[in-house]
Symmetry: C2
Subunit: 219 residues, 2 copies
Amino acid sequence: MDHIAGLLSLRERQPFQLYATDRVIKMLTANPIFNVLDAGLVRRCGVALDQTFKLENRPDAGSEVFAEMFAVPGKVALYMEDEQAGPNFGTVAEDTVGLKIVDRGTGRSFFYIPGCAAMPDSLALRLRGADLVFFDGTTWIDNEMQHTGVGQKTARRMGHMCMSGSDGSIAACASLGIRRKIFIHINNTNPVLLEGSPQRAEAEDAGWEIAWDGMEIVL
Amino acid sequence: MDHIAGLLSLRERQPFQLYATDRVIKMLTANPIFNVLDAGLVRRCGVALDQTFKLENRPDAGSEVFAEMFAVPGKVALYMEDEQAGPNFGTVAEDTVGLKIVDRGTGRSFFYIPGCAAMPDSLALRLRGADLVFFDGTTWIDNEMQHTGVGQKTARRMGHMCMSGSDGSIAACASLGIRRKIFIHINNTNPVLLEGSPQRAEAEDAGWEIAWDGMEIVL
């Protein structure tokens, strides 16, 4: 939801290409409201996981920017959950993905992983030594929703690692040699958003930056 | 679209009632993405045109606030257009509606009409002497999209009256004795948004206010 709702705001007859897994393309097709994106201007391109593809139609068409999607631990979108399907809610590989974007001109690359429920060895290996990683910063502690009185679900139940603790994202990334680490997708209950909070200090001491609206990054 | 896309941002387990025409309820049902609004918390209430109904579940439950929806000239939503259906694109009465909200405690009321393609006598009669009208302020001139280079369609083709000129909304409302008139739904091409512009001065001289984010009104 966080990654498709904005499509409804991109309907000003602006041409662009929409890259997504077949599962997401199918979901968009099943919701005719997304026809606000004129098919003559917005081409929907289904792409397979673990395949590198070139980003087309960029304003700086001379560049050589490629992308790759890969599965990360997560969960099916809340509104598509089917509790009858059992404890994993019928999750498939395409339910939660990360992105790697590579500029073949400069050789620089970054990862964009806004939702991630755990750090298996395979993902840690992928991120090792990366120039830049944007990572899921939803909550500080796993039971933050209960703690702040806004909900009952744990971060894990929502498909997110928390930042702190021995199984949190800060610990999981500590020894991966990532050059620049930036938390994104931060819930409004997360005290790391508060400048001057001890949690903010702890994240920054561990080498993390907290993303902000309008942030620009040069690799 | 302008009036339903925001539903996707109201999914934080907040209970409320959703009032809409049957045509809109049906469209929401046809788009499963709106199931992000948990049916246990958000009740969808289909209401008929020209019927007064009480607004339930308001925080100040003691008040007696009623609403009524009525058809206004307009058009079918762009993404639902079917050019095969002929020049009126199959428009039905429920494609564009206005709202009247009445507080039976104070007797005060206001109209909310964010899209309106013309001012027939029946609508002028309805608005005559109103305490407050929020009205469609999409464009200043009919061919504003072409004029500013952002599109080909006229305001009328998009289902909107322009503000200026002999068939514009300022002229149409001039003699209706409305106590307070506020333009809403203003496109980013409309020069009335610019403080100090001659168009802004002309609208204000005609007794109109230009709505702004965070505006609060006491009737």
